[in-house]
């Protein structure tokens, strides 16, 4: 039976592409799927594009592919990347410019049609409410503050782009796992209603979409994390997929990390909110019947995924401006470290009030004491702490108030509690965003989806 090997690229915007080299050079992969877009990344890209109309894609695209293409081309390895972000056509142009300067001319495909920001009013006029998926609230409440709104596309336009001969497929927002499902459908010609095989492909994609998290990175455990070999040279996961959908998760020889029952099942459930109905644009996956078999030597077999028919709607995630955050960190030394930090937080809070700097939220953390564990932290040595760091964060609709938080601290150096250190300057306000998940009938989106190929 035919098999194809597909490897993981990045797991987020800012991830390292160095481990991808081993997959291409020694992993015998035919495809690399690369996920550059976390739920919030489009907000960052929107800021870029607001400043520059030919920006709005993830800027790691060009350096990454400039480094990897010379390795990939002779081995005929193809790439599928959602690095197009909010501007896949500009991403292509930037890539073509960089590649032509080097005399490289791969065939590049671009998938568009996910971006709904300019279509919000048209969709609402057509009766698509775009109501908040959880609360049911009317999107009118945030309409004027929307900064992006994108539907999650599925694997089909990716498979179409590969069928058209693309060496590199650039997309905007697609379901992360579709970056991998698309190549598998293209290779094996799976029918778009072959739900169980699509479900296997989706499972493979889900296991690969977070780069090193599928091969021993960020392995959430006490003690065992330290037994994972050579994380410095981790091999991102590779899937060896059979025509019938049965897959083995592995990694390139000679790389660090670990692929075993534990590391794979931890990634399997990552950010899955209903394991028996994991929704994607192409299929609904039931993980309840999946079997993971540890074959040893960094190989785990995955079989038994059950697929249910795809949903009639696609998920949209929009982002809207939701005020500003100001934050400041300062440290205190023994004696009375915690009491001094607490007293300082109270002084800052009072100062904001006396200067009529209105805040919606005033958040205090004692870094090194209980920031993460809260009431489950060990506070038995509270009075004798060697040192503690105070972090104050505020949320406010007024940018000037957020910018002004830091100015409440420097004077304390001479006029506040003693032995304060490590004030590293005033952090500018940062924009806060609310997320707006919604549903849209798939045909409303799909009729605008285009795949354009350049050679």
């Amino acid at each position: 039976m035919r098999t194809v090997r597909i490897g993981a690229g990045l797991g987020f915007y800012g991830d390292s592409w160095l481990p991808v080299r081993a997959a291409i050079e020694r992993g015998e992969v035919r495809y690399i799927g690369s996920d550059h877009l976390a739920e919030l990344t489009l907000a960052i890209l929107q800021k870029d594009r607001a400043r520059d109309p030919v920006a709005g894609f993830t800027r790691d695209l060009v350096p990454m592919l400039t480094a990897l293409w010379p390795l990939a081309e002779p081995r005929r390895v193809r790439f599928v990347l959602n690095a197009g972000g909010l501007n896949p056509l500009a991403a292509r142009d930037a890539l073509v410019t960089a590649f032509e300067a080097r005399g490289w001319r791969p065939r590049i495909a671009v998938v568009t049609g996910d971006n709904l920001l300019e279509r919000v009013d048209e969709l609402r006029a057509a009766g698509v409410s775009l109501a908040h998926l959880d609360s049911g609230a009317d999107i009118a409440a945030v309409r004027e503050r929307l900064v992006f709104a994108n539907a999650y596309l599925g694997a089909r336009p990716i498979a179409d782009a590969l069928a058209a001969g693309a060496d590199i497929v650039l997309t905007g927002r697609v379901a992360d796992a579709a970056l991998f499902l698309g190549p598998l459908v293209h290779e094996f010609g799976w029918a778009w209603d072959d739900w169980d095989r699509l479900a296997q492909g989706l499972t493979v994609g889900h296991l690969l979409e977070c780069s090193g998290q599928g091969s021993g990175g960020n392995f959430g455990s006490a003690g065992d994390w330290a037994t994972i070999p050579d994380l410095s040279h981790i091999g991102y996961p590779i899937a060896e997929v059979r025509e019938d959908g049965v897959a083995v998760i592995t990694k390139a020889p000679g790389t660090g990390g670990r692929v075993d029952f534990d590391t794979v099942r931890q990634q399997l459930l990552y950010e899955v909110h209903d394991p028996r109905r994991y929704l994607s644009p192409d299929v609904v996956l039931d993980m309840g019947s999946l079997r993971l078999t540890d074959l040893g030597a960094d190989r785990v077999e995955v079989r038994g995924a059950r697929g249910l028919p795809r949903p009639e709607t696609l998920k949209v995630v929009a982002g809207y401006e939701d005020g500003w955050m100001g934050s400041t960190v300062v440290g205190f030394c023994w004696p009375d470290a915690w009491r001094k930090a607490e007293a300082t937080a109270a002084m800052v809070r009072r100062a904001l009030g006396e200067q009529s700097m209105a805040v919606d939220d005033f958040h205090v953390e004692y870094l090194g004491l209980d920031t993460f564990l809260g009431p489950h932290a060990d506070r038995s040595r509270l009075e004798e702490l060697n040192e503690v760091w105070l972090r104050v964060a505020i949320r406010t609709p007024d940018r000037r108030v957020a910018d002004g938080l830091g100015r409440q601290f420097p004077w304390l150096a001479l006029s506040g509690p003693p032995y304060m250190g490590g004030f590293h300057g005033i952090t500018p306000a940062s924009r806060l965003l609310g997320l707006w998940p919604a549903l849209v009938p798939r045909q409303e989106v799909e009729r605008e989806v285009r795949v354009s190929v350049t050679s």
Binding site: S221, E365, R395, G434
Partner: protein, 118 residues
């Protein structure tokens, strides 16, 4: 005996919208029924009441010896407006592993991870 979950299970957490999700995994089949019995949605909701509004849902996956908890209202509305240092909920798995449960001594004697002196 009273044990922290960290001794008998591993966990990873993530986020979506205003929810934190945590996968909790028994290291071995003997430990699995202990987790199912002791680490209920109600218990997890209490454990996270200081930072999450709730409710908490629990999905049971015996095929991979896992429990999946989905905690609503856990990110102050969502990661991009959350003032906490851990705005993404990545440390919530560690918070869960901190939970202590009581296991009858007889049963504890059969759990591999409690025999290794860990």
């Amino acid at each position: 005996m009273r044990v922290r979950l960290a001794r008998i299970a591993h966990a990873r957490s993530g986020d979506k919208a205003d929810r934190i999700d945590i996968g909790l995994f028994a290291y071995d089949a003997a430990t699995w029924p202990v987790l199912v019995r002791e680490v209920t949605a109600e218990r997890v909701a209490q454990h996270f009441a200081w930072m999450a509004r709730g409710p908490v849902a629990c999905h049971i996956l015996e095929n991979i010896l896992a429990l999946k908890f989905v905690i609503d209202g856990a990110l102050q509305g969502g990661a991009a407006r959350n003032l906490r240092s851990d705005n993404l909920g990545k440390t919530a798995a560690a918070v869960l592993l901190r939970m202590e449960i009581d296991i009858p001594d007889e049963e504890a004697a059969r759990l591999p991870r409690l025999q290794s002196g860990a």
